[in-house]
């Protein structure tokens, strides 16, 4: 879910970051270099050991009908090497459904879903990620935590979201990412490097827009407590509100395995 809460980041040492920057400055165009540096700073500022929250999802379909869903989310580790578990707590018929996401720095994540009705885990295939996640407007891919190395970047320009000046950065997935999106455009606030908006494109058509709002400084990390995603092909939208958000809590590695998924 970190991609949803502005965690586009990568843990690199200061020396590594400097060396990478020097190489990139020599080898890539100025705009692309600047764009990548911005994204690297986004990741650096949101680097945490762990994250957990309770999410309230409000799905509004094209006819205006609202359905609420709730989940708990826990993530261990950072960006390209993180593991996350998401468990539905409401509505009643999906209570206990869980998703394990294992992120990789160099390729698309691995995902498994636990369905209590059949007491089995199921590997989510790569091509499944464009599917809507349990009737929400998030796709399985949207639940992945993006890593700076999975995309190539271009600084498109500058813009303002709700009066806040932003950099506008284009991100094109690399081959190994295996993304449903042809490209994404990110608005990144200049004052705190928080992502304010993301637009995802399939070919030239925009398919999903995510707006990040109610920005709060939680344990030193600027975090959007509210994320609105609009599926522009369906006309439906989902609002995710983050409650009981906490960073750097002590979580156990053994709780982020396929075996652990069945511990309800």
């Amino acid at each position: 879910m970190n991609s949803l809460v502005a965690m586009w980041r990568r843990p690199v040492s200061a020396a590594g970051l400097t060396a990478t920057s020097v190489i990139l400055a020599l080898a890539t165009p100025y705009a692309a270099d600047n764009a990548r540096r911005i994204i690297e700073e986004v990741q650096r500022r949101t680097d945490t050991m762990s994250q957990q929250y309770e999410g309230l999802l409000q799905v509004v379909d094209a006819k205006g009908r609202v359905a609420d869903k709730r989940w708990t989310f826990e993530r261990l580790g950072s960006h390209g090497r993180s593991r996350s578990v998401l468990r539905f707590t409401s509505p009643a018929e999906v209570k206990g459904v869980a998703l394990l996401i294992v992120d990789h720095a160099d390729r698309a994540s691995d995902q498994w879903m636990w369905t209590p009705a059949v007491e089995r885990d199921r590997r989510i295939a790569l091509q499944d990620r464009s599917t809507r996640f349990f009737g929400t407007d998030f796709s399985f891919e949207d639940l992945e935590e993006r890593d700076v190395d999975q995309f190539d970047y271009t600084l498109i320009g500058e813009d303002a979201i709700d009066g806040a000046p932003c950099w506008k950065v284009g991100a094109t997935p690399r081959e190994a990412k295996s993304s449903q999106y042809t490209r994404s455009v990110l608005w990144i606030r200049k004052d705190n490097y928080a992502i304010a908006r993301t637009e995802n494109y399939v070919k030239t058509a925009i398919t999903r827009r995510l707006d990040y709002s109610n920005l709060q400084n939680v344990q030193g990390i600027w975090t959007a407590r509210q994320i609105d995603v609009v599926d522009l092909t369906r006309g439906s939208r989902t609002r995710l509100t983050l409650d009981k958000l906490q960073y750097n809590a002590t979580l156990e590695d053994d709780d982020f395995t396929v075996q652990a998924l069945r511990r309800q």
């Binding site: 018929e93 209570k95 691995d110 599917t131 809507r132 652990a260």
Partner: protein, 417 residues
């Protein structure tokens, strides 16, 4: 164990009651009330009933008083218009009766976790394998086949230990008490009797359930682009062979005694999942051996491919079998009955609340087939209604075809809480 020990009942009731009172602990409480109506357009020779109503109330609670200890408890309450539920109100723990229990323990488990080691003790569901339509390696998963094409898994009493080290998982299961699959009643339509038996008196003698324990181990590995497991099971087949004893007499007065026998099995299994960019390939194979001289030995396998495209899911595959030692024995084996057939399932999420799905199997010889269409609609936060139609066709000698009079429609309403 028909009547559960007092301690089991008390434990179950305490845990179920705990859900409403626990504070500051991890508690998950869920359940549903489900009513269904099944209508059969055709009458079966041994069963004139064409409409069956069924009620199931399920309540489950999961409590984690500490990070290393969890309890799970669940109970089922059932009613049925076609005598498929026992009359007694005793709380049944073992679920080994011919009929479904009126009141039964669905699960009662304590789970202890220490680092990478997890141990589950009690009544639980143990599922192995990766394929969806048929799962030959799923050896600890007996089922309720009172309706053969709409079966439900039964929990078993077991100790299950697992260790996860990195991408490797080792799991061991030991079950002291055998739980058979529930087979169709001879006087009901899902037991298809040969025409030669018409007029004869057919008696089913009580089955002699194996007294020994069963055990199994499974090692799994998750690699970058491949996930696979090897498994070994030593126990009994939860699907029975049928011993038939025909007592002499005129055809109209002949007596036929049938006894279900659950042969000893030793199986070696492999299952895998290989997600790729365009398709996910999944498969399972099991080699079933037996120390019983009168039962078959065989390899049963399934290979399926999956493709998700937007809100569409396509699953298609083939179930095959190679018999390595054959005996002329009458069996009730829905898993083998699916062999030599192409199987498939397609589902489409119309929107967040509505799903349409189709499922089917066709024998490679064309001798039998079944198809199922289902429309499911959720309303609000609690209600779901499902309409299903099942068509079965084929020759009487075929596993599918023998049920050609059992095409039916089902309407189910569920309230989840």
């Amino acid at each position: 164990m028909r009547s559960a020990p007092t301690v089991v009942c008390l434990g179950l009731l305490l845990l179920l009651g705990y859900a409403g009172s626990a504070r500051g602990q991890t508690v998950l409480h869920r359940g549903f009330v489900e009513g269904s109506v099944v209508l059969f357009p055709q009458q079966a020779p041994n069963d004139p009933t064409r409409g069956i109503t069924d009620l199931l109330v399920r309540d489950e609670v999961f409590v984690a008083p500490t990070a290393w200890l969890r309890f799970a408890a669940g109970a089922d309450l059932r009613a049925n218009s076609h005598d498929q539920v026992a009359d007694e109100w005793d709380l049944d723990f073992s679920d080994r009766g011919n009929r479904r229990s009126r009141l039964a323990v669905r699960r009662l488990t304590a789970t202890v976790r220490r680092g990478p080691v997890t141990i589950d003790v009690g009544k639980q569901l143990v599922r192995w394998g990766k394929t969806d339509l048929v799962s030959p390696t799923d050896r600890f998963a007996p089922r309720d086949f009172l309706n053969v094409v709409d079966s439900e898994f039964l929990a078993i009493t077991a100790v299950r230990g697992s260790v996860q080290l990195g991408n490797h998982t080792l799991e061991a299961v030991w079950t002291p008490r055998f739980t058979p699959s529930r087979t169709p009643f001879l006087e009901q339509r899902w037991a298809v009797l040969p025409p030669e038996a018409a007029g004869a008196s057919i008696v089913e003698t009580p089955p002699s359930l194996p007294a020994g324990s069963q055990s199994g181990v499974r090692w799994g590995h998750i690699a970058d682009r491949l996930e696979y497991s090897l498994s070994f099971y030593d126990g009994f087949n939860h699907l029975p062979d049928m011993a038939v004893d025909v007592r002499a007499g005129a055809p109209a007065s002949a007596q036929i005694e049938i006894e279900r026998i659950f042969p000893a099995n030793r199986t070696f299994g492999l299952d895998f999942a290989m997600p790729a960019r365009w398709l996910a390939v999944k498969g399972e194979a099991v080699y079933v051996t037996s120390s019983s001289p009168s039962t078959d030995e065989y390899v049963l396998y399934v290979v399926q491919v999956e493709r998700q495209r937007g809100e569409w899911l396509f699953v298609g595959g083939y179930v095959g079998e190679a018999v390595t030692r054959r005996h002329e024995v009458l069996t009730f084996a829905p898993d083998r009955g699916m062999s030599h057939a192409a199987v498939g399932r397609t589902s489409f999420n119309i929107d967040a609340n509505r799903t349409l799905s189709f499922e089917g199997a066709v024998r490679e010889t064309g001798d039998g087939a079944y198809v199922k269409a289902e429309y499911s609609h959720a309303r609000g936060q609690h209600w779901r209604t499902t309409f299903a139609g099942v068509g079965i066709m084929g020759k009487s000698a075929d596993f599918f075809g023998q049920y050609h009079r059992n095409s039916h429609v089902r309407v189910t309403a569920r309230y989840s809480f």
